[in-house]
């Protein structure tokens, strides 16, 4: 579903992605973990077309994402680490705007917006300006926008940041449902417990390269550790 090969990207001479290669299967829930500055966000931004890698290839559902970004964007839902919203729109208007960009039929859009607002307990605040929202509320709207369309791929950068426990729980459930329905999900997070519980496979990224990629069980075997993903992660990163 997602094939990344030999991806390079530098910022002012510092390699953010250093020959990064990875394959993610259709309907897979893939967790991406790594220390700060490892290249997780750069990778997700490259997939969605916000950043142009210097070299390498990205294929999403068989489409060359670097050559035909518009085509891939129609099948990707993306939530950034820092929610970027228009402050002068209300939460509902923002979701309507995103629905308009994706040409979702009006009736379906209204129904979907109501569902998402309900799931994230945002119905009460939906008609207030984004400018008045807290960080958590912005995150909920940003996630709702990513989940609005039935896209084949979801790229979520630290989605649980700022979410209250109830919303985080609902989000995980929603993502698992979407995954069961065939959506491929790439989930970047620092919350290793969450990754451990919901992801089919986990990729550990360090200094722009993938240092390990397997199921949590296999990673434990690999490191000879019977402990949590946190210990596996620390052990692998230290080896580098």
């Amino acid at each position: 579903m997602i094939e990344i090969s030999d991806l390079y990207k530098s910022y002012d001479g510092v390699r953010a992605l250093d020959g990064f290669s990875l394959k993610i299967k259709e309907g897979e829930f893939f967790g991406l973990i790594g220390p700060n500055g490892a290249g997780k966000s750069t990778l997700l931004k490259s997939l969605v077309g916000l950043i142009k890698p210097e070299s390498g290839e990205i294929r999403i559902s068989g489409i060359n994402a670097l050559a035909d970004g518009m085509q891939t964007k129609t099948i990707i839902g993306y939530a950034a680490e820092e929610p970027a919203l228009y402050e002068y729109l209300t939460g509902r208007e923002f979701l309507e705007f995103v629905g308009g960009l994706r040409n979702i039929a009006e009736e379906q859009l209204t129904r979907r917006i109501e569902e998402l607002l309900d799931s994230f307990s945002m119905k009460e605040k939906a008609d207030e300006l984004v400018a008045d929202y807290s960080h958590g509320m912005r995150q909920k709207i940003s996630l709702s926008a990513a989940l609005l369309a039935e896209t084949k791929v979801l790229l979520l950068d630290e989605p649980t940041n700022g979410l209250d426990p109830e919303s985080a729980f609902h989000l995980k459930q929603m993502l698992q449902d979407r995954c069961a329905g065939g959506t491929t999900i790439v989930f970047s997070s620092h919350v290793l417990d969450t990754v451990e519980k919901i992801c089919h496979r986990v990729g550990i990224i360090h200094r722009g390269k993938i240092v390990a990629c397997d199921s949590v069980e296999n990673l434990r075997t690999l490191t000879g550790s019977e402990q949590s993903l946190e210990n596996v992660f620390l052990s692998l990163v230290k080896r580098q």
Partner: protein, 474 residues
Amino acid sequence: MKAELTAFSPILTAQYRSVKNYLAHRLDRITKVELAIFLGVLSYDLFSRFIAHLDRLIGSEKLAEVWQLYIGLSKGIIILLFVSGFAFARRKLGDIRFSLLLIQPLPDATLAAAKLLAFLIPFVLLLPFWLIVPSIVLVKLSVQWDIVVLQMLFQVAAYLASALLGIAGALAAGERRRHPGTVSCILSAACLTALCALALIPPWPQNPSLSVSLAFFTMAALYLALCYAAVRESLVKRILFSPDALWQSLPHKRRRKGYPFLLSAYLYPVPGKLAPLVRKDVLFVARSYKTFLIVFLAFLFVTLGAILRSGDSRNAAQWLISLSIAASYFLANAAFKFNDEGIERLQVIKSHPVSAGRHWWSKFWVGFLPCLWLILVGHFVLALRHFPGWLGMLQSLALSLFVAVTLVFIENNFALYSYPYARYAPLWYNLYIITAVVFFTVLLFPPLAIVFLLFGYYAIFRVQRRMDAIEVLT
């Protein structure tokens, strides 16, 4: 005294920086060059008309009318200063700014006095500007210099009283809890200012004697002192006696419902695919009325100019076209500059299936839509008043639309190429100069617009390539 001044210094520096940044921010949004040229030309035009009118009146010995003009001007400025003082105080006494100052280790009286100084400094700096026109009237009337000086002193007193009244009014009308003393201060200041304005000038041609003048001057000084005391008391009371009120959060007021029918009607001409993008920008304009105000005022100036100058039908058509040009220019400018997607917000667009072309055309429509409605409504209204036949009106309509499309087109290209992504476009300043030149060339010779349209198509490709190349790094 020295200690007080030392305490003022950081506050005043902060105030100065805030005013400077505010002006720079505002001026950035409407290109400095364009605004300067526009206001310069407009001021010169109005000034020369005023002087010519004055000379005509004096030449025909209508001295009473000249005097009425002088009084009218003085009263106009007094009202303007009241409004300015009110608006300025409302802005400067915003909760956040006040709260920031309150957490600093400053005595409350110092803070209050510094606030007052901050209000008075811009007033003093702008004083010569307010005095110049009334003084020209007196000089043209060959009034003796000592009388001119006295009159100017009266003017200063009245202006200051009016500005202070505006500030006091802003305090009284604040969203926070009102203070018992404030209302009485406002009332007394209002009475005094009204009296000051009415008694400012003795009727022409009777020259005021020195004693009468001195009496007026003393009265004006008294008004000043009272107004100062009123404002100071209001401020000090505000700080000393209800600091808790300053920290209360404002009631939640920003529940926006919008006007779906009006918005749909307004957006009717926009192609469906662009509608969500244009709708977003229109909502921004509607909700950022403070930022948009400057464009609206500029537009109002042009409209008033057009109305004042359109006498017969020929003039009306000519001015309607000029109006279309000016409106297109300002609104297109505003379309981008008041809607610019900062690089962070651009990621919303770039992470969705929106092509650079679709984005560009949405911006074009944001600029063109108000022009389209203005031109259509303007022609409809003027058709009823001036145009002898439908053909003339249709010709004028076609020309206005053509000019509007051209200017919005060009302006959007340049604006997109430069302002929103300034860090990627070091040529922005030069491009704005070119825009200004283009604008005036089009004014002088409209057929050149075709060349600019062709050039614009080329520019679109450049702009789109540039937009595609932008990376969202944050």
